[in-house]
C-alpha cells in the first residue's frame, strides 16, 4: 500500500465542515434543479447558494496548508518509484476524479445560469449543463455506495474482487500471458 503520504484523516471539525459544505452544495443544487421549471425566483436564490458553496470551497481549498484534508485532493498517480498502488489509493483516486468532474460541471452550470440571469446570455447552455449534471451525480452516488459496501465487508473481499496489489507485476503478467 502506498497511499498519498501527505494526506491524513480529517479531524472532527474538518469532517463537520466537509459534511456541512457537501450538504449546502447538494441541498442547494437539489432545490435549484427542482425549481428550474416552477419558480424563477426560487431557482435564482438556490443557484446563488450553489455559487456561494463553490466559492467557500475554493477559498478554503486555497487557504488550507499542504497535506490538510481541506486542501484540494490529488488527481495524479504516485511517482513510479513508490511501488504498487493499493486498492484504497485507487478508490481514492477514482473518487477524486469523480468529485473534480462533478464540481467542474456544477460550476459551469451555475456560472452559465448567473451569466444568463445577469447579462441575458442565451440560456440553452445553462439548461444543457444542468440536464447533464444528474448523470454525474448518480455516478458519484453509485461509486460512493459501492466503495462503502466494499469497505464494510470483511478484509480481503476487495482483494478477491480486484486482486491485490492492483496493477501489480503479477497481475500484469497474468493478463499478458493470455
Amino acid at each position: 500500500m502506498s497511499d498519498n503520504p501527505t494526506s491524513r484523516k480529517p479531524g472532527k471539525v474538518e469532517l463537520s465542515f466537509l459534511m456541512g459544505w457537501h450538504g449546502l452544495l447538494s441541498g442547494a443544487f437539489l432545490i435549484a434543479y427542482v425549481t428550474g421549471e416552477a419558480s424563477y425566483a426560487m431557482h435564482v436564490f438556490s443557484g446563488v447558494m450553489v455559487l456561494l458553496a463553490l466559492g467557500i470551497r475554493l477559498l478554503v481549498g486555497l487557504g488550507a496548508p499542504k497535506g490538510s484534508p481541506l486542501g484540494f485532493p490529488t488527481l495524479s498517480l504516485p511517482p513510479a518509484g513508490q511501488g504498487v498502488l493499493g486498492i484504497r489509493a485507487v478508490q481514492r483516486l477514482i473518487n477524486n476524479w469523480m468529485a473534480a468532474a462533478l464540481l467542474v460541471m456544477i460550476s459551469l452550470a451555475a456560472l452559465s445560469g448567473w451569466l444568463a440571469h445577469d447579462i441575458g446570455m442565451e440560456g440553452g447552455l445553462h439548461e444543457a449543463l444542468a440536464q447533464a449534471t444528474p448523470a454525474l451525480i448518480f455516478a458519484h452516488i453509485a461509486l460512493a455506495v459501492a466503495f462503502h459496501a466494499l469497505k464494510a465487508r470483511p478484509s480481503g473481499t476487495a482483494t478477491r474482487f480486484f486482486g491485490s496489489p492492483v496493477l501489480s507485476q503479477r497481475t500484469r503478467n497474468k493478463y499478458s500471458e493470455k
Binding site: H22, G27, I31, T35, S39, M42, F45, S46, A144, H148
Partner: protein
C-alpha cells in the same frame, strides 16, 4: 457516513427551500405556493360543478 451525508443534504435542501420560497414571496415572483392558490381560486381540481340542479 452515507446516512449522515444524505441527512445533511435533506436538511440543507429544506432550509434552502424555505429561504428560496421566502425570497420568491418577498419579491412577488411566481412560486409553486402562489400557483397552487391561484389554481384552487380559479376553480381547478376536482369537485367543481357549474350546474345548478
Amino acid at each position: 457516513m452515507i446516512t449522515r451525508t444524505v441527512l445533511m443534504t435533506l436538511v440543507f435542501a429544506v432550509v434552502i427551500g424555505c429561504g428560496a420560497a421566502a425570497f420568491a414571496l418577498m419579491n412577488g415572483g411566481s412560486s409553486s405556493i402562489s400557483y397552487a392558490s391561484s389554481f384552487s381560486r380559479d376553480g381547478g381540481g376536482e369537485g367543481h360543478d357549474d350546474h345548478d340542479d
